[in-house]
Amino acid sequence: MAVKNKKLNLKDKYQYLTRDMAWEPTYQKKKDIFPDEDFEGIKITDWSQWEDPFRLTMDAYWKYQAEKEKKLYAIFDAFAQNNGHQNISDARYVNALKLFLTGVSPLEYAAFQGYARVGRQFSGAGARVACQMQAIDELRHSQTQQHAMSHYNKHFNGLHDASHMHDRVWFLSVPKSFFDDARSAGPFEFLTAISFSFEYVLTNLLFVPFMSGAAYNGDMATVTFGFSAQSDEARHMTLGLEVIKFILEQHEDNVPIVQRWIDKWFWRGFRLLSLVGMMMDYMLPNKVMSWAEAWEVYYEQNGGALFKDLERYGIRPPKYQDVANDAKNHVSHQAWSTFYQYSQATNFHTWMPEEDEMKWLSEKYPETFDKYYRDRFEHWDKEQKAGRRFYNNTLPQLCQVCQIPTIFTEKDDPSMLSHRQIQHEGERYHFCSDGCCDIFKNEPEKYIQAWLPVHQIYQGNCEGADVETVVSKYYHIKLGEDNLEYLGSPDHQRWLEIKGLKPRASKPGSEQDAA
């Protein structure tokens, strides 16, 4: 601290209140205190260059966070006391929450664990403190989500065992492997993955338009926790951008490493968000904006501005960004088609869009929906109405990296499924795309370890060999109650009762039978 005998400005004062509490150790070697800082090859020459992304002392943190929590829990109480679930647009909407609680909330918890860890690993105290605050914030999010969904769980099916499912259910290995991947990496990659690529570049797509959608569908509890969580997110995003700039400024050798991480984590995040795309386009009865529109605003526009800003460090936009931009017109439809077919193995219901929703999809996706998807959907709808609801009983081929079934199509040919495979040490591995295949090639020893749900079922590690046993015994999903077609489901019938409508008489032959 160069300036003496002069009142400290905000920035210097904050430094005294955080990083200045640290000291140069002499009794133990720095390398032993911070053993994980070097192995990724990132070179940090001077931690004092770290710019604190925000200057929040603990007392202010407690004060502001307590204020947020007070507001939030007042709304949860009011929501439960007034049976707020009765005021949502339509019970189909709740299925998005089921996906959220099983797919997203456990990631918040994993983020807590990851940030607590890196909050200890860096030798720069400023960075540690910022990470620790994010750790406790992420714990907050995981817990407020349990509380927000608690009331829904009392009135709808499929929300009853989220963490158990997250560890086991086939499609939940998509989000789980994403976070396992980040947490098993070194501290700098973790921050590039989660703080930068995920929080800064991609989470807006989940939390902003989707939560706005929750509001539009009358879900007071969710929009409140979502936006309340996002108010922490603004701090996390600032950390994400600061981390990247700091690493890049420290040493030019860091640039290619960071670029590879950005490429990897952009692609993994983009794949993960396919699930959000389908939530927005198919699971929100009242629609705010299409997935493609959200992608344009929050990735193409905002991400574009960001990567332009990073050019000066020698960073280019993520590899395969063009493939992702093109896919914005396809992924939600492809994902929904898949979940529709495999509804016997999910914890939520699926359905075919109603006519006005089909019309909305045609309008929002003029280039793709009618041309590639409408026919298939109309056919399935007809089959369902004729009592032949379609379920696919063949277990799908999963991508070795993102773990999504290989359902996506080629950029230049939407009628052609995208599939890549390579041989590694005598074994054949399958991928959904060049993006995922590249990730594997960079770290094969990591991705050969993947716990692929379909393989695991075949190997007999999931308490049964047939889907029905695996789903009920291993996943804790009640067949026909938690899943299958929405129309005629217990959730649907209960909803009709709430709305004072007579439950539909079940049509002949429309038994909910997965076989």
Partner: protein
Amino acid sequence: MSQLVFIAFQDNDNARYLVEAIQEDNPEAEVQHQPAMIRIQAEKRLVINRETMEEKLGRDWDVQEMLIDVISIGGNVDEDDDHFILQWN
């Protein structure tokens, strides 16, 4: 290529003052009302001044108070006692 910075607030009473203050200090900014939220974007730079906020509110205002109502931001952050600035270089 255009380089937009943005900030989004929960649509509540605090936000109304923030939006007013932002509009006054950033006449070029575009304000978008979406369900439950207000999003404001501007080319390259957006500033929130403590002084303007204090005028609007008629009381002392700490820049960090804003953290309660922000949903998201895009742009590099420059924050001190007197302002909160978002910008692209």
